[in-house]
């Protein structure tokens, strides 16, 4: 989280996303994803309890919050990888409740995982090709007749190579994904997600483990997605990055949405400071997790 990872160029921020006052669960002008009353408990622990949240279309939204806030669980619920105890949510006007994960992906909502899922014993190029939608050759009966899918395969390969080149992975295309470094796998997973031309990309900690030199190019990729008309929702702990590229920030703590707003104002929100330090930080600051103090310092530094 060194400051040299902070880019110098200023990306264009999208503004005017919300209706009325910015606050937890506030309405958006054009929401792409709307969730209502989504809860998920693990035994006695309420991991997610989201009353109402809307993700604005065509913008980059950051979902932040301390460790264990429920961000990944919320991602899993939205994308069909986990089942909520209750709740409704819709994507692009279509309900997603009880829709299996693979259908969610086909509808144009593609996610990546916090713990990277590169397909180790497939080549980088095969990883990419797997991401493409609507492949004729993925049908068992048609797969034995290569002339039916050869042309489409060539198109997919051309597209894969083009995206790989953008992510500077083209020289690795014939290597097993297992041979990539952790950061390169993050890049590959993101590149693979783009193969299906998604409308909403959900990235779970895309920067974790990526070195500062790569961070800049990853940031550019994410900004690039927005300029291509995609919506991005990402989870991130690096506040510099959040401030730099996010148009909107949603803050989660203990399963709830505690604050929302543009990156500037949200970081001055008392609820956010409480979330990172615990509600009683003024009384027992000395025993608080030092990581959280770091984050808060960063927030305050950034504001100056």
């Amino acid at each position: 989280m060194s400051s040299d990872s902070t880019p110098t160029s200023k990306p264009v921020k999208t503004t005017g996303l919300h209706v009325g006052d910015a606050g937890p669960g506030c309405r958006k002008v054009d929401p792409i994803l709307v969730a209502d009353g989504v809860t998920r408990t693990f035994g006695g622990l309420t991991a997610v309890d989201v009353e109402h949240v809307e993700v604005p279309r065509g913008a980059i939204t950051a979902l932040i919050g301390p460790n264990g806030a429920g961000k990944t669980t919320f991602f899993n619920l939205l994308t069909g990888f986990d089942k909520p105890d209750s709740g409704r949510w819709q994507f692009d006007g279509r309900s997603l409740a009880h829709v299996p994960a693979y259908r969610v992906a086909r509808m144009g909502l593609i996610r990546t995982f916090q713990l990277t899922k590169a397909l180790g014993l497939l080549t980088v190029l095969d990883n990419m090709k797997l991401g493409a939608k609507g492949q004729t050759g993925e049908n068992l009966f048609r797969s034995v007749l290569p002339f039916l899918w050869r042309k489409q395969e060539d198109e997919i390969e051309a597209k894969a190579l083009e995206i790989l080149a953008r992510f500077k992975l083209d020289t690795k295309k014939d290597d097993y994904a297992a041979s990539l470094s952790g950061g390169q796998r993050k890049l590959l997973e993101m590149a693979r997600a783009l193969m299906s031309d998604p409308t909403l990309v959900m990235l779970d900690e895309p920067m974790a483990g990526v070195n500062p030199a790569l961070t800049q190019s990853l940031l550019d990729h994410i900004l690039d997605l927005k300029s291509q008309g995609m919506t991005v929702l990402f989870v991130e702990h690096d506040m510099h990055m959040v401030r730099h590229i996010a148009d909107w920030v949603i803050v989660m703590a203990e399963g709830r949405i505690v604050a929302e707003g543009d990156p500037h104002s949200v970081m001055q929100d008392q609820a956010v400071i409480d979330a990172y330090l615990g509600a009683h930080h003024d009384t027992d600051l000395g025993t608080t997790d030092t990581g959280h103090v770091e984050v808060l310092k960063e927030l305050i530094d950034d504001e100056q």
Binding site: T79, F81, P100, A101, Y102, R103, A105, R106, I110, R111, T112, F113, K117, A118, L119, G120, L121, L122, D126, N127, K129, L130, G131, K133, Q135, T136, G137, E138, N139, L140, S143, V144, P146, W149, E153, Y176, A178, S179, E189, R192, A193, M195, S196
Partner: protein, 327 residues
């Protein structure tokens, strides 16, 4: 004195024997399951039993022609795969392993029990179903071949059909595994959630793989019973493990591996059994009886396979590079 010529010629015969072809087919099916998709099917013996019984019962009890009997066997194994797969393929990999091993045993016991004696022949099994297959033989009767490979027309017919099937299915497997379908399947082996997140119906693909490999096993079961009778004791869990041994010997995610692995397995088995039996006869192993000698061959094959797996863990045709990344 030991008759080395006989030992070697018997071993050589196993190279193209119908049993070797049957094991190669069954192992090819397991390669689809385990090697390519990562499905732990421990019930391949069950699929083979369905082929054997499906074929024999259709002919003996219902008087079906050969093609219909083959279809019955295939149909039975598709149903079997669905029964195994529907409850387990959504769960973790080990559940399929438990269910398949149990289901294959249940099948064997159902075929063994006296209750269905009229259909299955219970413990003594079935025979007398070969005429239809023999009638299709275009080879004029007589004896053909050279050296150890001298057989009558029927024996050649089984070998030709068995090995043609091996070649055709190996080619089909090769084709589908290098297609986009095969890419999805291999992706599932690596991480099914990642594949799901890319919009593939993982459950359906796993089911297709289970059915396809199971059908290979069923065809193997049919080839297996053409030179012998149908006997339920042949379909024990150990059969599945021999096929796994063949698969690992040849290379799990390979096409040639199961085929060559089966040849090596049967040649070695025949060689050791011939050698040990004659060595006992010649008084080289005074501490052993003939019965004990019959068991020793499996021990020797086991040792041979262990050595191969230790010194070439990726199998004969496996890719050494892959091994570097095995978790």
């Amino acid at each position: 004195m030991i008759d080395w010529i006989a030992i070697f010629s018997n071993a050589a015969q196993e190279l193209i024997s119908p049993t070797t072809a049957a094991y190669a087919l069954a192992a090819l099916g397991l390669a689809i399951h385990f090697g390519y998709t990562g499905l732990l099917n421990f019930g391949q013996a069950g699929f083979m039993a369905l082929g054997a019984y499906g074929y024999a019962i259709s002919i003996l009890s219902f008087g079906f022609p050969v093609w219909a009997a083959v279809l019955v066997g295939i149909g039975a194994s598709v149903v079997f795969a669905l029964i195994l797969g529907i409850p387990t393929l959504r769960l973790r990999a080990d559940y399929l392993a438990i269910v398949t091993i149990a289901a294959a045993e249940i099948l064997r016991l159902v075929f063994t029990t006296n209750t269905f004696d009229a259909l299955t022949g219970s413990a003594s099994g079935l025979q007398g179903y070969k005429q239809g297959f023999a009638d299709l033989n275009p080879i004029p009767s007589g004896t053909y071949g050279f050296g150890p490979f001298t057989y009558n027309a029927y024996d050649w017919w089984i070998r030709i059909v068995g090995w043609t099937l091996v070649v055709v299915l190996a080619l089909i497997t090769w084709l589908i595994m290098r297609s986009p379908w095969g890419r999805v399947i291999k992706g599932i082996r690596e991480d099914e959630d990642a594949v799901r997140a890319l919009g593939k119906n993982v459950y359906s693909y796993k089911m297709q793989s289970l059915i396809l490999g199971g059908v290979y096993g069923t065809l193997a079961g049919m080839i297996f019973v053409l030179p012998r009778a149908v006997v339920p004791a042949n379909y024990q869990t150990s059969l599945t493990f021999f096929i796994y041994a063949i698969l690992l010997l040849g290379g799990a995610a390979t096409i040639l591996g199961p085929v060559i692995g089966s040849m090596i397995f049967w040649v070695l088995l025949s060689f050791f059994s011939g050698f040990v039996a004659r060595a006992v006869e010649a008084g080289w192993l005074p501490f052993m009886s003939q019965v004990q000698a019959g068991q020793l061959r499996f021990i020797l094959v086991g040792v041979a396979i262990m050595l191969i797996v230790i010194f070439r863990p990726q199998g004969i045709f496996g890719n050494k590079k892959e091994l570097a990344f095995v978790k």
